[in-house]
């Protein structure tokens, strides 16, 4: 960037800094660069506001300033840019800017065949990637009228619930890390590592599993997986209680999350929030019970719900969900039938033209896939509905009024994963 000429030291008030008059030129690049340079350190876009909301946001009131919690930041969960309008330390307004991780997954899936879509859709919510696969295969199986063998359904539930526990454990660790505690995240990673090693024995991969297939799963349970699972189950309940106790009873943690970022029931429903964030506000909506899929109707588990709607409630719900998942895994292990793990399908999948929607309950909420088939060997339109996207949308409603210090804590308590948000 060429050095600014005659620029006054920018103040932190006012929308645009008026630089001193500079020698005139009609080179549009230089004119534009001067305009950009004048706002060198202010996150104000160099073009006129495109919408009402943008104009309203990028106009500073008295004593307000912009702070760019930018894509490079130690605490945003991935590449998320939050433009905060602060009055001192208090947040007045926030404009999240997305798209730094946009990879065009939907377009890529339109150009792939049905088998390849499973692989492409994994890195969306990379922490819990089986759930994207599950939503995709639910949608495709409805398109193609495929019936999944019961053993495969049980294996799907088993691996899904294990991954849910792994994801929630990591969530607790990241929430503590954003609040300043260095230890719980490392304990969380130890627990997650055990589960992920288990799933690596089952699927071959530690993070992006590529395990579900249309009509079943890719490979039966094996000895190593079962032995690791047995080891883990014998310790799971005690370990969960121990790591939950690390934070539940910590006075500082509780004081920083209780009453923070309160999302009430009506607002949550208006935003379309799903998952643990919705259940923390009192709405007992869980896709596994509301619109059951797979073998969930046969399993006995409860849906933890709380009514406070603050960060602490969102955290406690996930702790409860881990306990419920352990119950589900236990039942799966007892009830799993024998049989094939994959339905018989033709090699070239050419479903009839049609549309279908499939949704599953991921750790962050409802992961849905709407796919349109036009008779060819790939989806015509592959639409992914990601729960973190709508969860993050509540941020401009939750943050104003809180201090800067709570910004990250509230965003962390919503559990956003940028891969899914940006697709």
């Amino acid at each position: 960037m060429p050095p600014r000429q005659n620029a006054s030291r920018p103040t932190t008030t006012g929308t645009r800094v008026q630089a001193q008059p500079q020698p005139s030129t009609d080179d549009p690049r230089i004119m534009l660069d001067r305009q950009i340079g004048a706002d060198l350190f202010e996150p104000i876009p160099p073009y006129p506001p495109r919408t009402e909301r943008e104009g309203e946001f990028y106009t500073l009131g008295d004593g307000e300033m912009f702070l760019n919690v930018g894509p490079h930041h130690p605490a945003t969960h991935g590449v998320l840019r939050l433009v905060l309008k602060l009055s001192g330390e208090q947040v007045v307004d926030v404009d999240p800017v997305l798209g730094y991780l946009h990879r065009g997954v939907e377009k890529i899936c339109e150009n792939s065949d049905y088998y390849h879509v499973i692989d492409q859709v994994d890195p969306l919510e990379y922490i819990s990637s089986l759930f994207q696969e599950w939503a995709a295969v639910l949608s495709f199986e409805k398109l193609m009228d495929v019936e999944v063998p019961r053993r495969a359904e049980y294996i799907r539930v088993l691996s899904g619930e294990l991954l849910r526990i792994a994801s929630h454990t990591l969530y607790m660790g990241f929430l503590a890390l954003d609040l300043g505690g260095l230890t719980p995240i490392l304990y969380g990673f130890i627990e997650r590592d055990e589960i992920v090693e288990m799933l690596a024995a089952l699927t071959g991969a530690r993070m992006l599993f590529n395990y579900f297939r249309i009509g079943g799963v890719n490979g039966d349970l094996n000895h190593e997986f079962m032995s690791r699972l047995g080891d883990w189950m014998s310790r799971a309940a005690r370990q969960t209680e121990a790591s939950a106790g690390l934070l539940n009873e910590n006075e500082i943690f509780v004081r920083r999350t209780r009453g923070m970022g309160v999302l009430d029931r009506a607002t949550a429903l208006r935003f379309g929030v799903t998952g643990g964030n919705l259940r923390a506000t009192g709405v007992p909506f869980d896709v596994r019970r509301a619109h059951p899929y797979s073998v969930y109707p046969e399993l006995d588990f409860s849906i933890p719900t709380r009514t406070e709607g603050d960060s602490l409630a969102r955290y406690l719900i996930r702790v409860d969900e881990v306990r419920e998942s352990i119950k589900i895994i236990d039942q799966c292990l007892h009830n799993i039938p024998d049989g094939p793990v994959m339905a018989k399908l033709p090699r070239l999948l050419r479903p009839r033209p049609g549309r279908s929607w499939g949704a599953c309950e991921g750790p962050r909420g409802m992961m849905g896939v709407y796919s349109i088939s036009d008779g060819s060997d790939g989806p015509f339109r592959f639409r992914i509905h990601d729960p973190s996207f709508v969860n993050l949308e509540t941020v401009p409603a939750l943050l104003p009024g809180n201090l800067l210090a709570d910004t990250m804590a509230i965003v962390a308590s919503l559990d956003p994963v940028m891969g899914g948000i940006d697709k």
């Binding site: 350190f41 954003d178 609040l179 300043g180 490392l186 910590n250 500082i252 943690f253 004081r255 201090l403």
Partner: protein, 461 residues
């Protein structure tokens, strides 16, 4: 003189052209530095011969000045190794508490990690961000560092080992220690970065708020000891274990410890450098040695408040139980051995001890210990044993060795507590922090002060 000059120039001119190019860099260096060294040596000898005696007389006449200069230099030299030790300790202890290993590559058990870090920050590019006020930007870490280390002047490490036994020692301590806030504000303002600004302002607000409970909690000790001199405060606690002020000022210890955590910007009060919100707070734009200064200043600060807690409340250099200090070493006159006697003893101990332990290592270690490895390990064991025995002897005989040992034990116990808190606790929010200081700590310290004053007055009637 003129003939020698002309002969030198003639000699240089007579050298074949390009001789310098044909020399290696080491030879070139030697060629340049040897005349400089010789000249320097000549000048030094002349200076000592001509100016030496008046200088030593001057020193002898102003012994306190000499003592002060030596003390100040010793303190300055001590801070960096202390910071290194503390950094390593923190990394290792937090790692162990996180069920990790911590640094284990560089040096035995990773202990040279801090040294390497120090060298690394020295080697980094030195720049200031665009728009920063370079003068203040450069001075800020200096101010912070100096404010931290100047307070070491009044900390009693051992009987007789104190930088300067000021009458107003504690007042000096808090006055100078409070200058850190100036440095942090300078850093926050001059960085031309909103994160730094927020961090600097938070730091200023936090430190200023916690200064008051910190100083008030200490006034009780001053009342009990009757003096502000740290040396005499320690002497006032030197009777027995129960004379330590912690038993008479329990509330003050608590308030002091909490306020000291906030003063040192340690978790749970490290809002100023909260990684997860404001990147690195006031130090966001700092890198290289400037950041190194801030880093060292923080660890020296931790050491200082631990040392102060040990001094004021836990007896400083006094031992918890009475130690038979006065072993009489007079039966043995070290001068009687003479130079050769001592050389013989040192060589005998080193060589024979090394061989002895090398043989033992070889016998019990097995085949994989080569002769040199065994000798090396034997030397190490021998050294440790010798230092241990000498240390023990010094411990029994000299009260300053004894004093330093206990002082360091107590200080490092508090340092360990600070590190432990950092590993386990999350961060307190800014407004909760302020509320806590003004609403809880300040009334508590005032209460303590009034209670102590009342007790002193009543008990002295």
């Amino acid at each position: 003189m003129r003939t020698s000059m002309t002969s030198v120039t003639a000699f240089v001119k007579s050298l074949p052209a390009g001789v310098l190019v044909r020399l290696s860099p080491a030879e070139r260096l030697a060629l340049i530095f040897s005349p400089l060294a010789i000249g320097g040596g000549v000048v030094t000898v002349l200076a000592i011969a001509l100016l030496g005696p008046p200088f030593t007389d001057f020193l002898g006449a102003n012994l306190p000045l000499v003592r002060f200069a030596v003390a100040a230099s010793a303190i300055l030299l001590m801070t960096v190794p202390t910071a290194f030790v503390l950094i390593y300790l923190e990394l290792k202890v937090i790692a162990r508490m996180n069920l990790r290993v911590g640094p284990n590559r560089i040096g035995p058990w990773g202990s040279a990690m801090s040294v390497v870090h120090g060298l690394k920050v020295l080697a980094k590019e030195d720049f200031a961000p665009t728009g920063a006020d370079v003068t203040i930007f450069t001075l800020a870490p200096v101010v912070t560092y100096l404010a931290s280390i100047m307070t070491l002047l009044v900390i009693p490490f051992a009987p007789g080992l104190i930088g300067q036994d000021l009458n107003i020692g504690l007042l000096y301590f808090f006055a100078v220690g409070g200058l850190t806030v100036v440095g942090l504000l300078m850093a926050g303002w001059s960085s031309f970065n909103k994160y730094s600004l927020l961090g600097g302002l938070r730091a200023a607000a936090q430190i200023i708020s916690y200064e008051i409970p910190l100083t008030l909690s200490v006034v009780g000790v001053i009342l009990l000891a009757g003096t502000m001199s740290t040396n005499r405060i320690v002497l006032a606690q030197s009777g027995s274990l129960l004379d330590w002020f912690v038993f008479r000022q329990p509330l003050a210890v608590l308030v002091f410890f909490i306020a000291a955590t906030a003063e040192a910007n340690r978790t749970p009060f490290d809002m100023t450098e909260a990684d997860s919100e404001i990147v690195a707070g006031f130090a966001t734009e700092y890198s290289g040695m400037r950041f190194g200064f801030f880093f060292f200043a923080e660890y020296v600060n931790v050491f200082i408040v631990s040392a102060l807690a040990a001094t004021l409340f836990f007896g400083g250099w006094t031992a918890p139980f009475n130690w038979p200090l006065a072993y009489d070493l007079n039966w043995f006159n070290p001068w009687s051995l003479g130079f050769f006697g001592w050389t013989a003893i040192v060589l005998a101990v080193l060589v024979i001890g090394t061989e002895f332990f090398a043989v033992i290592v070889r016998l019990f270690g097995g085949r994989e210990w080569s002769a040199w490895d065994a000798m090396g390990l034997g030397f190490l064991i021998d050294l440790v044993l010798v230092v241990g025995i000498l240390g023990l002897a010094g411990f029994i005989a000299f009260d300053w060795v004894h004093g330093i040992f206990w002082f360091m034990v107590k200080t490092y116990a508090f340092v360990f507590t600070f590190v432990w808190m950092r590993a386990t606790l999350p961060r307190v929010r800014v407004d909760q922090l302020m509320g806590f200081a003004w609403k809880w700590l300040l009334p508590a310290s005032l209460l303590n002060l009034f209670a102590t004053a009342t007790a002193v007055v009543l008990l002295n009637r």
